[in-house]
Symmetry: C2
Subunit: 165 residues, 2 copies
Amino acid sequence: MLRLSTKGQYGVRAMFEIARSCNHGPVTIREISERQDVSVAYLEQILNQLRKSGIIKSVRGPGGGYVLSRDPGKVSIGEILRELEGPVAITSCLDPKEGCMRVEGCVTHLLWKSLGENIEAFLNSMTLKDLLEGNEFISLKQRPGQVPGNIMAKVPDKTKARLAS
Amino acid sequence: MLRLSTKGQYGVRAMFEIARSCNHGPVTIREISERQDVSVAYLEQILNQLRKSGIIKSVRGPGGGYVLSRDPGKVSIGEILRELEGPVAITSCLDPKEGCMRVEGCVTHLLWKSLGENIEAFLNSMTLKDLLEGNEFISLKQRPGQVPGNIMAKVPDKTKARLAS
DNA sequence: ATAATAGTCTAGTGATTCTGTCAAGTATTA
DNA sequence: TAATACTTGACAGAATCACTAGACTATTAT
């Protein structure tokens, strides 16, 4: 239940690659494709959409590629997903594009609304910087009762090493 | 993004109707259909699935219908949805039926996992009783720490006020 | 200039999932 | 035994997903 489309997933992973190289010039689609194992053609679509929203910039010609428009800490996961898939809308009732026919009769309306708002808050609080640092859960520790420990706690050492390089 | 299927939505609304009548004998599918505006045939499928899980019981013959097997306060929304749609699995990576091919390379793995856990905690903390009393959000506020990270932490005050009214 | 590199844009398509319907049952009770 | 009501499995149209294809535009190194 509640699956995120591959488009959104790939988008976040692509943004991670771009953020990762934010001090090393533009990243090409080909590089992202190889590192994240997503087809070039599909990435073209996804990155194009993100570019139009201003979240990334493209540089054409040899040596070109994509770069972040902002600091990784200023780009939330929520923003990326919202751009690619629209706002969280657990029900069509709550989709701004559709609207609700029978709000009053819909007992569960506020339930889904609250769930959606909470999901958005979660996604908005998480940034590319958190992903880069691998500590999104540390940032969540500020909220009492949160999942303890570092997000990288369960990641194998060789992976950490590769990510750090 | 992240829409819940109508099956899950209808399931919760049907359970609401059954819970609502829990002191007035069985509710027929026809009644649920009329009150919640869902076809009888589709409800048959949904309620059958819920019956098999033991969450409701059916009574056959004239005067029959469906009744809750348990107290409304003991039936969580999460349980209903899980029965109808399986566990929350933001990515196929996290679906117990599929499994992850490349856990190590999946930078975002723990991000989605954490989101999923938060959603499940939210849904598990909410029961039919909360829906019946129409104070699902107030009751949530009374249980600090039960939901990891106080899921209401970032919800705007004006929203809380509206929900509480 | 021009070749090579790299992004831009629009369609289209096969597969899958969703959202149900239909029909032929079985069980229970008044 | 008629009426009520649940049970089960098959199936089908519609929508969405997850891409692929192909033609185009822009930039830079030589």
